[in-house]
């Protein structure tokens, strides 16, 4: 077990709290950078997806995990980012301009959604974002002149500094770099007044506003930032998939995106990455499991059943998600043999009322 003696205020602010952090995160980054050298094409594709979905996770974590606002419509922001990128790319706009444009445009959409959403709470907010998602999906399907409608839109590889990012390794580095940048931005935000204001809104709106936090401003900001980050992921997604069609951005995409956050661990940045990795590897796991099932049962439904069971199981048995599980294991090892089962139990109110939030 490690004890940290604080002798300086800066110690609270530092990203790496102790040498162990430097070592382990450094090792992880080194491995990720070296990955194209040893990973096969398949694994590299998975890593690209994990990087993209991690960005999705960061964006959603900011809104759901740190500001406590619900969104069942984040696929719409992914769509805005993806289509902005795809269309600008087709016009020959370089990636260094089209990517920020995708983020800005998605962010602006987020603010437009966030403004009316200010007055809505809990379930009403969830339904409003769901409605927004359905409407955006329909707009994409019907606005054929711009988006190609249901026929879809082809997206060419990104052009970065005059070079087409075509090789899997190059695209992988692009995704990785953006994921790391977004992650650092999130860390910075969370140790700044704005991030603290978000968390305060999540924990008690009434307290936050009495401490001078402008609820309207910060909720809108959170929506906007979250949507902008999702827009960045959308731009990468567009290049990865190379073919965009409206049904990719329906409600089920939104639910899958939320699942990243919930399985990873709501309220932890690590959770976004762990959740993304889990979601990407889940279909592989299911494919393997299918081989063990009798042929009559191994239908397309297996995927849905496993996905549903994983979701339900996690929430019931590990509400803190994968990262929460890791924290428990680590604490167990550190304290061995003094770990108590109740250590991570949160206060559970009996039928706590949402109506009085």
């Amino acid at each position: 077990m490690r004890f940290i003696f604080k002798t300086d205020y800066a110690q609270d602010i530092r990203i790496a709290k102790h040498g162990g952090h430097w070592f382990w995160y450094g090792l992880l980054l080194a491995l990720l950078v070296a990955a194209p050298a040893f990973a096969g094409e398949y694994l590299l594709t998975q890593l690209q997806f994990i990087a993209i979905y991690s960005i999705v996770g960061f964006g959603l974590m900011l809104l759901v995990g740190f500001t406590g606002q619900v969104s069942l419509g984040h696929a719409a922001f992914l769509a805005v980012g993806a289509y902005t990128e795809g269309l600008l790319q087709a016009k020959g706009v370089p990636f260094l301009i089209s990517l920020p444009a995708a983020a800005l445009f998605a962010g602006a959409t987020g603010i437009i959604v966030g403004l009316p959403a200010l007055r809505l709470k809990g379930i009403y907010l969830a339904i409003a974002t769901l409605a927004f998602n359905v409407i955006v999906e329909e707009i994409i399907a019907r606005w054929e002149d711009l988006t190609g409608g249901n026929a879809g839109l082809l997206v060419k590889p990104a052009v970065l500094l005059g070079q087409a990012v075509e090789s899997p390794a190059a695209f992988y580095y692009l995704c990785l770099a953006l994921a790391v940048m977004v992650c650092l931005g999130m860390i910075n935000l969370l140790r700044s007044p704005t991030g603290r204001a978000f968390v305060a809104i999540r924990d008690s709106e009434i307290s936050a506003s009495c401490m001078g936090v402008n609820l309207a401003k910060y909720k809108t900001l959170s929506f906007g930032l979250s949507a902008a980050i999702t827009g960045i992921a959308g731009a990468l997604y567009a290049h990865k998939i190379a073919f965009l069609s409206p049904e990719q951005f329906g409600l089920f995409q939104s639910i899958e995106m939320l699942t990243i956050v919930i399985l990873g661990g709501v309220g932890f940045l690590h959770g976004a990455v762990l959740g993304a990795a889990f979601i990407i590897f889940l279909p592989q796991g299911i494919a393997i499991a299918k081989d063990w099932l009798p042929p009559g049962v191994a239908t397309s439904g297996v995927q849905a059943v496993v996905f549903g069971l994983v979701l339900v199981g996690f929430i019931i048995f590990e509400p803190l998600g994968l990262y929460g599980r890791w924290l428990k294991i680590r604490t167990y090892l550190e304290l061995f043999p003094f770990y108590r089962r109740g250590m991570f139990r949160r206060q559970k109110a009996y039928a706590k009322s949402e109506r009085l939030r």
Binding site: L189, P193, A200, C210, M211, G212, V213, N214
Partner: protein
């Protein structure tokens, strides 16, 4: 002349000097449906004093706080702070102007550490723009260090160093009450609103609370407006007291004057007939 009229007469006199007062509440009222929960309450605070509102249960004490905190919109009346009309402002503006409050039933950020809770109190002193925070520029770093220094002063002042990095959720009630006080002080308020600071505390903790309120007044020079049940605490720390019954003011004066006022005794004990 009934006691009620006497209070009104007196507040009208004070009104004559008007909104030049440090903090003034003028004819404040709110209805919930047909019920007048607060009706015609007026008082003015002098800088540096401890002013307490007392009254039996349901007299509308906390409601007055929620009106001042703009959590409920007032049905009638005006609230002045430093000659500025507060009515109609958004709730967060109150804190920005330098009024901080605590809650009767503790509204802390349960999943955060004591330090993080107090840092939220520094929100009104932030200076950085969003892009600076995303990059965590040296300016933001300096500001953060300064915020921590300010928070540490409050931690020292209220003797919370021991709990600095503990999660609030797991701490005893009495400690959390002090943390809430600390969070309010971290905003560096000019006016502090305390909603029943002694509720839920044992006699020893109440005693500590009394010391701290005196220190806040004497050492920090912060004006305190308080709602309180415990008459010994009220008598000990208050400079002036306003008694309410059923949402209406019935007496105002020094603690001794108010405690011996017939209308107050009647409100608490019931009339003799």
């Amino acid at each position: 002349m009934t006691s009620n009229d006497a209070v009104r007469e007196r507040s009208r006199e004070e009104q004559a000097t008007g909104s030049t007062a440090f903090f003034e509440v003028e004819n404040l009222g709110i209805r919930f449906g047909g019920v007048r929960a607060v009706d015609g309450v007026s008082f003015a605070l002098r800088p540096g004093e401890v002013f307490t509102i007392i009254g039996p249960n349901g007299a509308g004490k906390t409601t007055i706080f929620n009106l001042i905190g703009l959590i409920y919109p007032a049905s009638s009346g005006r609230i002045w702070f430093d000659g500025r009309d507060l009515t109609g402002l958004a709730p967060h503006r109150i804190a920005e102007l330098g009024i901080a409050r605590t809650f009767q039933n503790i509204e802390l950020f349960e999943h955060a550490t004591v330090l993080q809770n107090l840092l939220i109190g520094r929100h009104r002193h932030r200076r950085s723009a969003l892009w600076q925070e995303l990059l965590f520029t040296p300016g933001v770093r300096r500001a953060e260090l300064a915020q921590r220094e300010a928070v540490e002063k409050v931690i020292d002042f209220l003797d919370l160093a021991h709990y600095r990095d503990s999660l609030v959720g797991g701490l005893p009630y009495g400690v959390r009450k002090v943390i809430e006080l600390a969070r309010a002080l971290a905003t560096e308020p000019r006016l502090l609103l305390l909603d029943e600071p002694s509720s839920g505390l044992n006699p020893e903790e109440t005693d500590d609370m009394a010391f701290w309120i005196e220190d806040i007044k004497n050492d920090l020079g912060v004006t305190v407006l308080m709602v309180e049940h415990d008459m010994s605490l009220v008598a000990r720390v208050s400079d002036r007291v306003l008694a309410l019954n059923e949402g209406r003011p019935i007496a105002q004066g020094t603690p001794a004057e108010v405690q011996s006022h017939p209308a107050v005794i009647e409100a608490y004990l019931g009339s003799e007939d």
